[in-house]
């Protein structure tokens, strides 16, 4: 293979890695939107908190002299999921639930306020500077001709793919097989009717926030390890990207969010191959505008019917 095609292959691998974490965050947006029709603007901040918690746990366990990496990662994952989910639940309880049923701009503005609050809460308690974690998962697997171009798949990337795959499978099984999952699907079809049929819709809505936050925390751990750096403002841009991914795939559709995340990640990586990397954000938003123009319901979404 020529140097250029190998380079593109490398970009594809990088893009799939970033894209799968976008997909994880995007599911949180899409599930909440599917049920209560609101953009949870503070979702990116939940991801950022997940990253911070994971860093704290990893640094703490390393400081205690623990050396077994799998144990450290699993403990970090569990703690990050628990704490982020608590944040997700609290945000819903404090800032969104009392506003349900009012004009749709009102919860959105409340969510923006919550997002600014959480950013600065973390900024004040942990400092606004970048916090760097030395790489924990090192090494990789290379192929291609060393004299032309070497394509590397790092173990970290393999871990991200595996973790995303497992999480997505678990989520799909949960939504399609379990009683709670069935209730979730019912809620997204008709919230009022589900309530009449004796399902506590408030509980289901809280559950979607918890599940979304848990997935965001997993993404926070993975991306935190991948980049090795976290600061209180990473959630903003990641949230924006993930929302783009959710819209790209068709908001409200879980497989759509997965697909949208991957498409967005690969598109960004491919743009970075041809243009200066600063412009990859421009491409992401440009893509969002184009999708909304030509296919407002997204790749896998159902066209919305307006009822009077």
């Amino acid at each position: 293979m020529s140097e250029f095609s190998l380079y593109l292959l490398q970009q594809l691998i990088n893009g799939l890695t970033i894209g799968s974490t976008y997909a994880l965050i995007a599911i949180g947006y899409t599930m909440v939107y599917g049920i209560i029709g609101m953009i949870n603007f503070a979702h990116g901040e939940i991801y950022m908190i997940g990253s911070y918690v994971a860093f704290i746990v990893i640094a703490g366990l390393l400081g205690m002299g623990l050396v077994s990496l799998p144990i450290i990662l699993i403990v970090a994952l569990i703690v990050a999921v628990v704490i982020s989910s608590t944040y997700g639940w609290t945000v819903e309880r404090v800032a969104y639930r009392p506003l349900r049923g009012s004009n749709r701009l009102i919860p959105l503005i409340s969510a923006i306020g919550m997002s600014i609050f959480l950013q600065n809460f973390v900024g004040i308690s942990q400092g606004y500077r970048d916090v760097a974690l030395p790489p924990q998962v090192v090494g990789g697997w290379t192929f291609g001709d060393p004299s032309v171009f070497e394509v590397t798949v790092s173990y970290m990337q393999l871990m991200i793919w595996a973790a995303t795959l497992i999480t997505m499978t678990a989520l799909t099984l949960f939504i399609s097989r379990s009683r709670m999952g069935r209730a979730c699907r019912a809620c997204s079809e008709d919230l009022g009717m589900t309530n009449l049929l004796g399902i506590d819709t408030n509980k289901i809505i809280a559950l979607t926030f918890i599940v979304g936050a848990a997935l965001a925390a997993i993404a926070g751990l993975l991306l935190g390890l991948y980049y090795g750096v976290v600061n209180p403002f990473v959630g903003f841009i990641a949230g924006l990207k993930a929302f783009t991914a959710a819209v790209l795939g068709g908001i409200g559709s879980i497989p759509g969010a997965m697909l949208g995340g991957l498409v967005l990640g690969v598109t960004e990586a491919m743009t970075a191959a041809f243009f200066p990397s600063e412009y990859k954000d421009v491409v992401a938003f440009g893509l969002l505008v184009l999708i909304l123009l030509f296919r407002p319901s997204g790749l896998l979404g159902k066209p919305e019917v307006e009822k009077v």
């Binding site: 953009i39 911070y52 918690v53 860093f55 704290i56 990893i58 640094a59 703490g60 390393l62 703690v79 628990v82 704490i83 608590t86 639940w89 609290t90 800032a95 009392p98 009012s102 004009n103 749709r104 701009l105 009102i106 959105l108 503005i109 409340s110 923006i112 306020g113 919550m114 997002s115 600014i116 609050f117 959480l118 950013q119 600065n120 809460f121 004040i124 308690s125 942990q126 400092g127 916090v131 760097a132 030395p134 903003f236 841009i237 924006l240 783009t244 819209v247 200066p276 600063e278 412009y279 954000d281 421009v282 992401a284 938003f285 969002l288 505008v289 909304l292 123009l293 407002p296 919305e304």
Partner: protein
């Protein structure tokens, strides 16, 4: 009582989970390794205090609720005199206010005049966004982009072509309106919250472009040395920058004082603001203004009555953008220096907060909120570290406590007295 105790324990448990790791432990770099250190005793004290507060507020939630319901909600409209008296008094009151605003700067310090100028910029921005969000009900999260377009238009025209402030003012407004039109044309067919995200993305795109197009915009370093406005060609510097120009103080034969410039900028801001208020006031009473509000209330009903929603939304979006461009040009002239740092998302959020706090659609409310939002941070300087934290909290509390804003909008209407 038992249920309450359970609730209170649950809430304090949640509060403990939320705070113990994020506040109780701090990440710290030691050489190349990342380490953690426990919080100081004082921080733990704060955590304990917060958890105790949550516990008590849950236990006594009924008492707190009843105490709050006794607090009267501000009824600002009751403070005003009756409708009939008001219509006689109103022109006089407005005239008095304008006179006070014109005389006031000569009596106070330079710093407060400067602050008032800043407040006037935010009033213009708030009024512009008020058309889009308050009247037409389109949530625009990238409003700062149009502000940036206006500011950079003046800065670039003055830097490369040496054009004067007064010539650039309409050009800035026009160009910002053009940007609004070009962006609005495709996206205004979208539903409300999609629009919010697209405008947010647009705001980011403009900022990234300004940051990276170094050859023209100077990148992160911005543009400095932007020319100040002149009074019919009279400059406000100690010596005229251009040959043949006479500085203001020499022309009138008075001593040079740097405060003339500050007061002059303030007076320009007053005139621009009055102009903006006048134009918007007229627009609201025109058919297009009524159509904005009708569209906000019920889009489907509007369409079935034969209103073209794209044209109506586009007009609101374009006019809002042009107001921001106006304010942007003035901002660039006042600062003399602009960089992409001035046009970040937080700025959009602050303008949105002004509109929401004041009461969506209400002009008096927006003006009041803009003044509060600029003066409050100055008064609370010692809390500047917590400024954004409190700002976010305020937005959430406002939405729960008084979503209609401080001074809710009153429609122009007539009441029949039988």
């Amino acid at each position: 009582m038992q249920g309450k105790l359970y609730n209170a324990l649950f809430a304090s448990g949640i509060a403990l989970i939320l705070t113990c790791l994020m506040v109780g432990i701090k990440l710290d770099t030691e050489g190349t390794q990342l380490a953690i250190k426990g919080a100081t005793t004082q921080q733990w004290l704060w955590i304990g205090l917060g958890i105790g507060l949550v516990f008590l507020s849950q236990i006594f939630s009924d008492q707190i609720d009843s105490a709050f319901s006794k607090v009267p909600k501000p009824q600002l409209s009751k403070l005003l005199p009756e409708e009939k008296k008001m219509s006689v008094l109103k022109p006089w009151l407005i005239a008095l206010l304008v006179v006070v605003m014109l005389i006031w700067p000569f009596m106070v310090s330079r710093g407060s005049v400067d602050l008032a100028t800043l407040a006037l910029i935010y009033i213009m921005l708030g009024l512009g966004l008020n058309i889009v969000v308050g009247l037409a009900g389109l949530l625009d999260l990238g409003f700062v982009a149009f502000y940036a377009v206006g500011a950079y238009t003046y800065a670039l025209l003055s830097e490369y072509f040496g054009m004067s402030f007064w010539a650039c003012l309409p050009i800035s407004a026009g160009l910002a309106a053009l940007f609004g039109f070009v962006l609005g044309f495709p996206v205004l067919r979208l539903r409300g919250d999609y629009l919010a995200i697209v405008t947010l993305g647009f705001g980011e795109i403009i900022r990234i472009l300004l940051n990276n197009w170094t050859a023209v915009t100077g990148g992160p370093n911005g543009i400095s040395g932007i020319a100040k406005p002149t009074l019919f060609g009279l400059e406000f510097s100690r010596r005229a920058k251009e040959e043949g120009n006479i500085p203001f103080h020499e022309f009138f034969g008075i001593d040079y004082s740097s405060s003339y410039k500050v007061i002059f900028l303030y007076l320009i801001a007053v005139i621009l603001t009055i102009f903006v208020i006048y134009v918007i006031n007229r627009l609201i009473r025109m058919p297009v203004g009524r159509a904005w509000e009708a569209l906000r209330e019920d889009e489907i009903a509007c369409r079935s009555l034969g209103l073209n929603r794209t044209v109506i939304k586009l007009s609101a979006f374009t006019l809002g953008a042009s107001t921001a461009g106006f304010a942007g040009a003035f901002f660039a002239a006042r600062q003399g220096f602009i960089s992409p740092e001035s046009f970040i998302f937080i700025e959009s959020a602050i303008i949105l907060a002004i509109v929401v706090l004041g009461g969506m659609g209400s002009q008096v409310g927006v003006i009041l909120a803009a003044i509060i939002m600029t003066i409050l941070p100055e008064l609370a300087r010692e809390f500047s570290e917590y400024r954004m934290l409190l700002f976010g909290l305020l937005m959430v509390i406002m939405m729960r406590w008084r979503p209609q804003g401080l001074v809710p909008m009153k429609r122009p209407h007539l009441e029949l007295n039988r």
